[in-house]
Symmetry: none
Subunit: 340 residues, 2 copies
């Protein structure tokens, strides 16, 4: 819907379930309902695969087989290592928009769903720069904030800020249910703290089983870290160590404040021009380096030289400080860079 | 304020800090500012001690010493075993209203703070029946729901539904802060799940250090139970046991539903998700429309989109019929609505 409304794109859809396809057509999410991936992707410039993580490898493979040489293929799965390592095609860029709700199905589609949302992209050394640039621009045009990240970092990050909170919510409700039953007590009419902490408990099982399993080593690491932290708190409690408990709680207060103080104000956007060889992986390398440094690329444009061997990339970065940092980083990578 | 407004009671106050006493007088929380507990309690029928858990034993002792033979003395501390075992006086009944917010100080006092809130009371074998009955009726008259509970059960219950969620919120923010720093990553502009899960992280350190320590054996038990549950999930992940993960997640979903259901004496609580523009008046419009139709909103949560222009509201409504009615009404108002 966003692609149709904001980009004026023709959107062709394919779904193995005819009812879903008809609903998408009726909802205005697609212009044309197609009978196969091949039909949907004939002449397409961008292909977006939205499928459960468990079948993503296969479906992205189908899309790559059906897509032309000039078509960028991306997905919207919640974990990225497995799918990215499965498809080393220059046309494939993994993606993960952080948007949506517990609701499922095209009837909940909204053209503004991605407005302001972080949309992770995982380009690799194999990625064609021109296709990555197209995808980046397309996603920015949908209203989202594309951000390059390597698949390992993405999956660790998600294990930390998403999968672990889901695990803990599940544990909390299970533990409370068992305890209340044992005590023959009801959940008291409290303030919303317990509800807030357990809001995501028991999220869609089909989706989340895939997510947990496709990211299980990272989730296990997070669980182990939590177990160690719980052991530390337990020790302080057992010792009756008020100073340690107070310091731990104060640190959490500071951590939360710092974590949530990440809002971007209306900062000036600066343009950087970077000279690059026109080969796969270069744009990915730049995007990843800036992503790692916390520099948000507001927009980018690729300008290949006529013979396509060399070119330049224009990057727009918000804020004087981040722009300076970006220029320094790019220079350190060995690329000529100029402030436009 | 509730006692003055709803019961027409004369409320006399004492506080060791003269400024707090003056603020209470100015705010209309008390009729008379007194220079000592003895002066405040002369001829009083009910005494309420509001002091940090760490000094509660001493302050309740002062109140009991100052109060007459016909005065019931209660407190509002968050843990109950320590204070109840310290004072086996027939006039003392421990209390714990589940109300309030992170705000502190009499300037945040509201006459309706306790409306509908569970207010635990911990009478013992020693408690004078007539005094307990007076306290129960007084608390009900303030608008709260008095509920008797033994101190052991209370403290275990609170360890489970309140203290453990606070511990886990602290652990989550600390772990995320450390991980993001190590990765040079920022917290992504996600949906509100991480925020929800960590809303209570780093709550008032002075208050919470006392709470954790006064209830440390129960909190340690809860931490141990969580550690065991995390170990089980970890094992299932390590085995790649999709069936076990799915069953665990389904159980959590059922547990959460049952936990929120039992609160309402039998009626099933239904969740509605409503897409709304994020502007003043919309939530009020929804609440008023449902209120007019006699639909009771058990709970609600607002989920703004990252750019805060749009969002969704989750509404929990008790009963199948009311939930249907609510969904119809909301759709008639022009908002997209889905049953979760």
């Amino acid at each position: 819907m966003a692609a149709r409304e904001r980009l004026g794109a023709e959107v062709r859809g394919y779904d193995p379930a005819p009812a879903a396809l008809a609903a998408a057509r009726q909802r205005g999410a697609i212009d044309v309902a197609c009978a196969s991936p091949a039909q949907a992707l004939e002449g397409a410039g961008t292909a977006v695969v939205a499928a459960p993580v468990g079948v993503l490898r296969e479906v992205v493979g189908e899309a790559l087989a059906a897509a032309g040489a000039d078509c960028v293929v991306t997905d919207v799965g919640s974990t990225k290592r497995a799918i990215v390592s499965a498809h080393r095609d220059p046309r494939f860029v993994g993606g993960h928009p952080l948007a949506g709700a517990e609701t499922a199905g095209v009837e909940h589609a909204r053209a503004d769903l991605f407005q302001g949302a972080t949309w992770y992209l995982t380009p690799t050394q194999a990625t064609a720069g021109v296709l990555y640039e197209r995808l980046h621009r397309t996603i920015a045009a949908l209203g989202a904030q594309p951000q390059a990240i390597d698949p390992d970092t993405h999956d660790r990050l998600m294990a930390n800020v998403s999968h672990l909170p889901h695990v803990l919510a599940n544990v909390l409700v299970a533990q409370a249910a068992q305890a209340l039953e044992a005590e023959h007590e009801r959940l008291p009419a409290t303030g919303p703290s317990f509800r807030d902490a357990t809001r995501v408990a028991g999220a869609n099982t089909a989706i989340w089983t895939d997510i947990y399993l496709s990211n299980r080593d990272a989730v296990i690491e997070q669980i182990d870290a939590t177990t160690r932290r719980l052991a530390d708190v337990r020790d302080a409690l057992e010792r009756g160590d008020a100073a340690a408990i107070a310091a731990w709680n104060d640190a959490a207060r500071g951590d939360r404040r710092r974590l949530l103080e990440v809002e971007l104000a209306g900062e000036t956007v600066h343009e950087l021009r970077v000279g690059v060889p026109n080969r796969p992986g270069v744009v990915a390398q730049l995007a990843l380096a800036l992503g790692r440094a916390g520099v948000n690329i507001v927009d980018m444009a690729l300008y290949p030289a006529p013979d396509r061997s060399e070119g330049s990339v224009a990057l727009w970065v918000a804020g004087e400080g981040p722009a300076d940092r970006a220029a320094r980083l790019i220079a350190e990578l060995g690329f000529p860079v100029a402030r436009a």
